[in-house]
Amino acid sequence: MTAIEGQQLIPFATTLEPGTSRDNKTGSWRNLRPEYVQNLPPCNDSCPAGENIQAWLSHVQRGDFHGAWQEIVKNNPLPATMGRVCYHPCQSGCNRKMTDGSVQINATEKYIGDRALEQGWQFEPPEKPTGNRVLVIGGGPGGLSAAYHLRRAGHTVTIFEGMPALGGMLRYGIPSYRLPREILDAEIDRILAMGIEVRTNTRVHDIKQVMRSEGFHAVFTAVGNWLPNRVDVVSKAKTPVLDGIDVLRKVETGEDHGMKGSVVVWGGGNTAVDVARVALRVTGERPKLILRRDMEHMRAHPEEVQDALDEGVQFFNLHTIHEVRDGEVVLERMQADDRGRPFPTGRYVTVAAGSVVMALGQSAELGVMEKMGITQSGDWEVPVSPGMMTSVPGIFAGGDMVPSIRTVTAAIGHGKKAARNIDLWLNDQPVSERRERTIATFERMNTAYYPDVETNHRPKFEAGERIYDFREVKGGLTEQQAIQEAQRCMSCGNCMECDNCYGFCPDNAIIKLGAGEGFKIDYDYCKGCGICATECPLGALDMVMETI
């Protein structure tokens, strides 16, 4: 019995039954129609390893570190390593950099990676064996990533590595004060524990032969860039002129690296900075870093540069080495034009030098590729298809040796992508099309909903404390800080169930489907005002023209 029937003599028309307006379907007023969308967050878009950063951050937000780790390792098997050495393009992409600073994704990843090692979390066992054997040449990050992903998919994998240990440049390039070896070792061991065969000290010279003799069905090559680039300098002196990556490798293996006195490092990239900082630690004297450009146009990562400055590396920006003499080098001063390009000035200075290290980049040693006819002499990289395959079917390549950015994350991304495509190729399937997704750009965000929060930076040892040994320079976030950093994530482009659409709809036309289920629009009543779309903090609603 309704309220009105329950009484007598309710006046006609002036008194009404409650809630009867529901008969009036205001949806017919609408000319724009809100629709929920899921867009690609810029962090994910800019992670070369293809991590779903937003997804794993959302686990961290709730303190679910294991969930976060599992999400990371869907794409990247080396989070503790990457949390240390990655140049984090994700953070450059992060929308939050437009407000109070990018989410410290990298530091958070380190926290997760370290926590995983501490807790001994292991990878899921591989899928059931496929019977395919895949050869991986080179045990750097590219190779390790490919091996991991191939193994996950159930293939039998063997890594051939020319050096005594796996890791590639992670081990023989990146100094241990940036990447402690026990971290690297532990992460590599965890990959190998999936059942991957490794042959160290085994340099591959002839791919065809190895394939044939061992019965491999496909190959992934990631031999890296190990040939130092050199520039001729006038040197009639006894002062040794060394190569950056050789020096770094030797410091790592304990061989005689040849650095002494005040080391003069030539180069403006990351290798140069690493060499200078390593030189400082092994010689105890302030090294000099010579770069042709000004500091602004330096290629090295700014944080590394700052660390080097803090530690006392002397920067000779806008200089080149003119001549190496006994115990000294003659530098020519340069001048930058308004675009930062250096020009010689004809003015010179002389500085003391115990040894000179050239760190002017490196290129790939492509003997194996040439032998396969994939490259010709003089080539310095290997072209590959979008599916990472070389011109020879079944032979794939990635990492530093292919045209791309030369970073660990790129190598890991290549390894993953190659693994997926090897899998497809082995199953005679075509390369999958890349799905174009709308990027959750900053313009789509309503940042009024995100209070400014101070970023949590990793602590560092004071410069004075850290220059005497190879202790890790940077610490990590605490659990609380990691959670906080993750909570700074704005969930760009993907609903976080903040209820703004639901709470701000003047027509109650949004239906809540329950935790984790999101929302549904009740088009019977939605008038299409668009408040939901404007007030969605992260742009998860599009207003589309209603077709009549």
Binding site: A3, I4, G6, Q7, Q8, L9, I10, P11, F12, A13, T14, T15, L16, E17, P18
Partner: protein, 405 residues
Amino acid sequence: MLKQIDGSYAVGEAVALCRPQVVSCYPITPQTHIVESLGKLVKSGELADCSFMNMESEFGAMSACIGSSAAGSRTYTATSSQGMLFMSEAVYNASGMGLPIVMTVGNRAVGSPINIWNDHSDAMSVRDAGWIQLFVENNQQAIDVHIQAFRLAESLGLPVMVNMDGFILTHAYVRVDMPEQEQVDKFLPVFKPFQKLDPQSPITMGALVGPEAFTEVRMLAHSRMERALELIPAQAEEFANIFGRNAGGLVQKHYDDETGVEAETVLVTMGSVIGTAKEVITEMREMGESVNAVTLRTYRPFPAQALREAVIGAKRVVVLEKSFTPGMGGIVYQDVLAALNGTGIEVQSVIAGLGGRPVTRKSIRTLFAGCDERSNGHGFEVLDLDNTTMDRELAREASVLDRII
């Protein structure tokens, strides 16, 4: 219980016997003493379970009544004159929503010029508001009709206005028979509203109604009024059974004609003026004149049928009223005229007592004396008009206006 008491206080006591739950008030002469007396009764605790609201205006007072009644409480207020006009928007609203509020009107002229004395302008100003309008002749009736008013209002879901002449009744110190509480309780059941604001079964009151239903809403209000025409005599009879007194009803015919033949001239009035009129008519009848008097105790709904029955057979009816519409004349007259349309009875219009001008025995005699003259097509007559002043002022006006117009 017999007692000598001021009209206002008498009404206050009678209202208190009706156990109102909310009384809202705002002072205006000559009604003020009614609510003052109720205020005192509430404060002293003699009238228990009643909220006495001192409002900020008559508009507020009637509005509070609307809220209170809609929330299911028996509700009362009183006003006069300017106060009525000030609350008039809410007066319409109360009836439109079917809220059985009872309001006393201590009838008074409406300014400008401001004038605190009696006439019926205030009641006439809300004639069309949809309230039941009752008029009383004396203080005993005032008491008795208020008691009936609550019963009537609540049995119909309509507000009722009890009109009593300002000063003449409100301030008259006379002997009345004040009913006993048990009698009142027997006559007036506990208020059971037809509709109320109740969280247990929510309703929406006061909706917007467009052309598609507004006329029907109005016609339903009219039909509710027509039911009042049946209910008022019935309840008056019931009242008489309990209280042993006749009061209320639709019309009151004051003399029975032993001859069975209707008097030639019947005076039709409303309110207290019948007191003086009766003195003259009694005198005249004793002298053998064929005159009678009928009072309209119910003005809205207009008791056309009852009036016709009361005057049928008369040669003429003279409407003596204390209300006036400039540009037209008598107001009650028009109702009477319409009611007697087709009966062949001549209806004459006489205005008197505006702004408190006494209607004396002499005035009434003049009224009867002028009957024949008025038959010759006079629109209306104003008793006791100061013709000297009128002539002077009309001349003065003419000297200016004639030149302009």
